[in-house]
């Protein structure tokens, strides 16, 4: 039986994890390599490394960090943030990333999705969709860290990226992100029921119950950042809870 994936997300800037200073057993709480390794040992099913550095120097640090993480973490590693060209993608894959996540650059130039998936396969192309509700049953795609409304319908955009060659959609609700009120289940259902590929739910987790609701609303995987960073919940707690609800998850022994 296919398990629901629990994905731990690291927001990294200038080589440091920006959330997450509460890890207890780490030598350096902000070192992405150590944090990723700890999540791996804790039973995370995947790691997402989100580079929120804007500068060019920062990008070289990212390549270096991805190399180091890939040497010590033996679960899928997705890298996102600031990826603009097929060359960027190649460099990250060569460094050891298994998937790359595209957001603004895919909206600006949808052809990059097609080029990248033709070249590297759909399994490594994750399209991040940041969606915000604009009216009943309508969500628009936002870019540049949620600052710009593209006017594009998130459901239509999701279908379009599937045609272009996306392998997964990472769906973040801008309305719910940071609220801890739970995932946007309507948005999740709307997107998930419109596409054949897996949808990863992101934004809004606060309580353990929110996880099972997301699974029941069509999420194939759940992305978690701050809840795990601050140890409000552990990966093990969430997995045991899902298991108790009859949802299949991978439990490490």
């Amino acid at each position: 039986m296919l398990g629901i994936r629990l994905i731990a997300c690291l927001d990294v800037t200038n080589g440091r994890v920006v959330k997450g200073t509460n890890f207890v057993n780490l030598k350096d709480a902000g070192d992405p390599v150590e944090v990723a390794r700890q999540y791996y040992l804790d039973g995370a099913d995947e790691i997402v490394f989100l580079d929120i550095t804007a500068t060019h120097e920062g990008r070289n640090t990212t390549i270096d960090l991805v190399k180091k993480i890939a040497e010590r973490v033996f679960i899928p590693l997705t890298v996102g943030g600031g990826i603009r060209t097929v060359e960027d993608i190649r460099n990250l894959l060569n460094a050891g990333a298994d998937k790359i996540s595209l957001n603004s650059s895919a909206v600006k130039d949808p052809e990059i999705v097609k080029k990248a998936s033709d070249k590297f396969g759909i399994q490594c192309i994750v399209i991040a969709v940041d969606a915000k509700k604009v009216e009943k049953n309508r969500w628009n795609v936002f870019v540049n860290g949620g600052r710009i409304d593209t006017g594009i319908d998130a459901v239509i955009w999701s279908r379009k990226v599937v045609e272009l060659g996306a392998g997964e959609i990472l769906l973040t609700s801008m309305d719910k992100d940071g609220t801890k009120n739970g995932y946007d289940l309507e948005l999740l259902r709307a997107v998930s029921s419109s596409v054949e590929i897996p949808v990863i739910a992101s934004g809004g987790a606060g309580k353990i119950e929110h996880f099972s609701k997301a699974c029941e609303s069509g999420a194939s995987a759940i992305l978690v950042a701050s809840l795990f960073h601050y140890r409000e919940l552990t990966i093990e707690e969430v997995k045991n809870y899902l298991k108790s609800k009859g949802i299949f998850v991978r439990i490490i022994s």
Partner: protein, 212 residues
């Protein structure tokens, strides 16, 4: 102890970095090989790969890897195919028409097709496998429990003609062959290099088998 050398065939289809890292972790030395002439120097070889069947199969033929791989396997040395590399072991693939594989194992590669919209394609994530009770299966899955989960990402699955080669099965809409262990051929649809400690255990079982 001397680190055993394992060849990884680099034919331009997929990320080989993860396999290299995992082999290093298993105390083996990974040697990237991009010329068919060189694989005969190794006792163990991995054929990785992700992506589409036909361009990979065509490319292997164009580069002369198909003959080199057949000679290598006929010499009794161990070959491990992962994901697309595993699918290429078989006779035929049906991705964008009919395409010939390496035909090391008689069988076909078909696409998942489901009516149930909850069954997403590709099949991505951790799925548990049922390990066959056979001597061959026990080599690959030595010291791994039945129903352990491994990481999959694929839209196509293999159908071997003879089920004797199957060392594990997995369920996703239907029961499919998730690995074979057939004489000196090892193959898995899942990615051992991305399947945590249990996946690393399979790779170290492979390395141990090669060093025997």
């Amino acid at each position: 102890m001397r680190r055993i050398k394992i060849a990884i065939i680099d034919y331009g289809f997929g990320n080989i970095k993860s396999v290299i890292n995992a082999l290093h972790y298993c105390n083996a030395e990974a040697c990237v090989v991009d010329s068919p002439l060189r694989i005969s120097n190794f006792g163990g070889t991995i054929l990785p790969g992700v992506g589409a069947f036909w361009p990979a199969a065509d490319f292997l033929r164009l580069k002369g890897f198909d003959k080199a791989i057949r000679d290598y396997v006929n010499s009794g040395k161990i070959l491990y195919g992962i994901c697309l590399g595993f699918q290429l072991f078989f006779t035929k693939g049906y991705e964008n028409g009919n395409h010939e594989g390496l035909n090391l194992i008689p069988g076909e590669v078909k696409k998942f097709k489901f009516k149930d919209e909850l069954l997403k394609i590709p099949h991505v994530g951790w799925n548990n496998v049922s390990i066959k009770d056979s001597l061959c299966a026990k080599k690959m899955f030595f010291s791994i429990d039945d129903k352990e989960s491994f990481y999959f990402v694929h839209s196509y699955y293999v159908i071997p003609e003879n089920s004797l080669c199957v060392s594990s099965t997995c369920e996703y809409g239907l029961k499919f062959c998730s690995s074979v262990t057939y004489e000196n051929l090892w193959g898995s649809q899942f990615h051992p290099e991305k399947s945590g400690e249990k996946g690393l255990k399979i790779l170290s079982n492979f390395v141990n088998e090669v060093s025997k």
